[in-house]
């Protein structure tokens, strides 16, 4: 009766497909009010006055003076207020909150803000304030460049990206005599609890946070729900009634976090035989107006900046800076898709400079078991760069297509990458996550704060427990994430849930099985009473991370991926259309192969959007295209067939060998598509590759762009 490794259907799949699953906007409470946020319209200045242009009768109105605790969003730095007091640091910053029982009345209420405007900093290269700087060094860069036969330099840029979870941000706050309950669309219940305790001046246990069914997260519901929940809670507290705050699409796009825009510069030394001798890399991220999670996004970006390659002499220097734009935050990949884009286009250009096959150059330098990374982490037997590269190249027919398509309007390109699974550095040690398993008459109930947001956590965690406990899957329940009932198993981010929380649950299940000693759950409960097993994360025995020197094991382990993109250039519209993608991912063990593949398929599609379509246009520090009409995400017709192969190379410290997977697929399509464009003679160094960019590249390119497209 093996259940790990089987593609069992998603637990809540039928409810979702029948429209029976209940999301936050589907819930109503007696006496509930609706809420709205009044926001700044200038990027920088001083707020001088707020004028109400409506009859306040029947409204609940909240500003910063209604904060009972501290007006800061508790996260890494306490620099961001829930509500503007005087200083305006970006447009779309919340100033005033309104609640009313009638949505129409609420929508028509007019508020005028008066400011003194200051000159904003909108260009990250001109910002003088860094939230975080990082330096990673290995070997001797001077010696590395001295050994080089060739030096290749390049600058690469990527823009903001919006998550576009189809369900926008939303919460309902329900006040009680001694605290606050929040039900919401969110990834990290305990983050929200912590932020609300500080805002409301309450002990954490007086704030109860419950996750509703969540319609997509992708990082957009990692840190931002703390703000939405805080606003709803302030209104609910003042009104003494439940308050629902659900964003519409425009507000969701204009005001919430984005993927950090990046500028990455490479200087690469390479020997004639293709061996990398020196990698000098500079990373600049635009963090927006407040710190949010920027330091850790930068950290992950820098730790993936070399790509999955071995080199003795490395310098990576990174900065994330402040500008007067809405803050950037977590987004699937968390800094890595930006730096992997730069690394993999640079690799392609190094191969061109050497006149070497780009696959051979990558094979020559790919990290192998026993190699050490830039931080000195020695890789285990599950270092699978070569396996994913070779499988993807063979499966896609890369070499044949590259030859056959020369001189046509069709192109093919690839990207090789890895992705650290779990929190960076000492993050997991500091989180010290706890997971629990409670014996029930039929089997067991999983108690974790890890959230289901579409990725399949609810089902895969149940599979791990069923397998370890040796009971049918149908006897395992997963409790609703509710801070009043479950231990803090950490945030549902960083591709950590299956690997880290799953491992804790595996240990709980094994101990529970031993305690049962052959008794059925019902018989045990009758004889001995209730049984709950709790396990806490234990640091690995070696490779401790040093945050001050950036040396040691940056991650427990890495997943490995290779993406091959095939594209066609429309000679009339200059659209670059993906026609097929081959994606190979090594993830340790696929607990649920179809769900694992679903992460690769979905991440690849989101990566294709990042590569080709998704462009946030900023005007005076505000998103000018905050609608799905002109911020384009891939439709069925923009997304080609994606051929997925999952490779398994078990990781010793993952449940049944599983590693993380969720974020990694996001890194491949950007550089793979850019490299496919290169094979068409387009020197693309910037994402997204819109028709306008293709036109620019075509007119600046020395080679002519093929003007005819030969169809198969």
């Amino acid at each position: 009766m093996r259940v790990v490794g089987r593609s069992v259907p998603r637990q809540e799949g039928l409810d979702k497909a029948r429209g029976a699953a209940r999301y936050v906007d589907d819930l109503r409470f007696p006496g509930m009010l609706h809420a709205r946020t009044i926001r700044t319209t200038i990027p920088r200045g001083e707020l001088l006055g707020v004028r109400l242009g409506f009859d306040p009768n029947g409204f609940t109105i909240v500003d910063h003076r209604d904060v009972p605790g501290r007006n800061v969003v508790a996260l890494i730095q306490e620099d961001q207020p829930f509500l503007v007091e005087r200083e305006v640091r970006h447009a779309e910053e919340a100033v005033l909150l309104l609640a009313h029982e009638d949505k129409e009345t609420l929508a028509t209420a007019r508020v005028d803000l008066e400011y003194r405007r200051e000159e904003p900093v909108l260009d990250p290269e001109r910002s003088s304030h860094a939230f975080k700087q990082i330096a990673i060094g290995k070997g001797d860069l001077g010696r590395g460049f001295a050994q080089a036969d060739l030096v290749v330099e390049g600058e690469y840029r990527t823009g903001r990206q919006e998550h576009v979870a189809i369900e926008p941000q939303g919460v309902i706050a329900v006040p009680s005599a001694d605290g606050m309950t929040v039900i919401g669309s969110l990834q990290c219940p305990f983050y929200v609890q912590k932020a609300l305790a500080v805002l409301l001046g309450l002990p954490p246990q007086s704030v109860r946070v419950v996750q509703a069914e969540t319609g997509g997260g992708f990082g957009g519901k990692e840190d931002y729900p703390s703000i939405v929940a805080g606003h709803a809670a302030l209104l609910a507290r003042k009104a003494g009634r439940p308050v629902k705050l659900v964003y519409d699409r425009l507000e969701e796009m204009a005001a919430t976090t984005k993927r950090h825009p990046s500028i990455v510069r490479h200087r690469t030394g390479v020997a004639r035989d293709g061996r990398l001798t020196a990698l000098e890399i500079e990373v600049l991220f635009d963090g927006g107006a407040y710190c949010t999670l920027s330091p850790v996004v930068l950290s992950r970006g820098c730790l993936h900046a070399t790509g999955p390659y071995s080199c003795d002499n490395v310098s990576v220097r990174g900065r994330v800076v402040r500008t007067n734009t809405p803050p950037c935050g977590a987004f699937r990949g968390f800094g890595a898709p930006q730096t992997v884009f730069a690394a993999e286009v640079q690799m392609e250009r190094v191969a061109e400079a050497l006149g070497m096959d780009p696959v051979r150059l990558r094979e020559r330098n790919a990290l192998r078991p026993g190699d050490t990374t830039a931080t000195g982490q020695r890789l285990g037997e599950d270092a699978s760069a070569l396996a994913v590269l070779r499988e993807a190249v063979k499966r896609s027919g890369y070499h044949h297509k590259r030859r056959a398509w020369r001189g046509t309007g069709r192109g093919i390109g690839l990207a090789l990458f890895h992705h650290g699974a779990g929190f960076t550095g000492s993050g997991e040690v500091m989180l010290a996550s706890r997971a629990a398993l409670e014996l029930t008459p039929r089997g067991a109930r999983v108690l974790v704060a890890s959230t289901e947001m579409g990725q399949g956590a609810r089902t895969t965690l149940a599979q791990i427990v069923a397998e370890a406990l040796g009971v049918p899957l149908g006897r395992i329940e997963v409790a609703e994430p509710d801070t009043a009932r479950v231990p803090d198993s950490g945030p549902t981010v960083a591709s950590r849930t299956c690997m880290v929380v799953g491992r804790l649950l595996e240990a709980c299940a094994l101990e529970m099985k031993a305690r049962l000693g052959g008794l059925s759950p019902a018989a045990y409960l009758k004889r001995h009473g209730p049984l709950t097993i709790t396990r806490q994360y234990e640091p690995p025995p070696r490779g401790a991370w040093d945050d001050s020197t950036y040396r040691g094991d940056a991650y427990g382990t890495f997943g490995w991926g290779c993406t091959v993109a095939e594209v066609e250039l429309d000679p009339v519209s200059y659209e670059l259309r993906p026609t097929r993608v081959t994606a190979v991912a090594e993830i340790g063990r696929a607990v649920n192969p179809l769900m694992a593949a679903g992460q690769v398929e979905g991440g690849t599609a989101q990566g294709l959007g990042f590569a080709l379509l998704e462009e946030v246009v900023m005007r005076d520090g505000r998103m000018a295209n905050a609608q799905l009409t002109n911020y384009l995400v891939p439709t069925t017709l923009d997304t080609p067939p994606i051929d997925v192969t999952i490779l398994e190379s078990p990781y010793r410290r993952g449940p049944f060998g599983a590693k993380g997977i969720g974020e990694m697929p996001m890194s491949g399509p950007g550089p793979a598509v850019a490299n496919a464009a290169r094979s068409l003679g387009l020197d693309v160094r910037c994402l997204p590759i819109t028709p306008e960019r293709v036109l620019e590249c075509a007119s600046s390119s020395t080679e002519s762009v093929p003007t005819s497209t030969r169809r198969r």
Binding site: R10, L14, G19, D25, I166, E391, K394, A597, T636, T639
Partner: protein
């Protein structure tokens, strides 16, 4: 105002310019129809009016007078099970709209027909692969492969 809702006669008192989406969710209590964008781009609110898929966020309630409106709650058949089985639903917020838009496809559609019929439905989770598998079948859209890394290709010769 009278109309036929999921095969039964309905009489709902709501303003004629209220969005059909809000009438269904608030006045009829049918929350299976979701709001994703409110601008007719994402298709999460797709319902059938006289058998034709429409975005309920763009349709005023007056438009439903005397017509047959079908929502996800009125759909029977095997589609839901296929979505659950083939990975056609992840976060699930787009799924009711996708199922409704696909309701007009006949039996055993090709992958190309499925893609054309669903071009107005955004899904941010699946890359549409599981959706195409659920509707066109595994022959038209194969499931992914799983291999031991040790059995992966040893060379790059295609």
């Amino acid at each position: 105002m009278r109309f036929v809702l999921n095969g039964k006669r309905a009489d709902v008192d709501a303003p004629p310019l209220k969005r059909l989406l809000d009438v269904l969710r608030e006045d009829c209590g049918l929350t299976g129809t979701k709001e994703g964008c409110g601008e007719g781009e994402c298709g999460a609110c797709t319902v059938l009016v006289d058998g034709v898929p429409v975005n309920a966020c763009l349709v005023p309630f007056a438009h439903a007078r005397g017509r047959r409106v079908t929502t996800i709650e009125g759909v029977r058949g095997r589609a839901a099970a296929a979505f659950a089985r083939e990975g056609g639903t992840q976060c699930g917020i787009c799924t009711p709209g996708v199922v409704m838009a696909a309701a007009t496809l006949g039996p055993r559609p090709t992958a190309a027909r499925v893609r054309a019929a669903l071009a107005g439905n955004l899904c941010r989770c699946t890359g549409y692969a599981g959706i195409v598998r659920a509707l066109a079948g595994r022959r038209a859209a194969p499931r992914p492969r799983v291999l031991a890394a040790s059995r992966a290709a040893k060379t790059t010769r295609g």
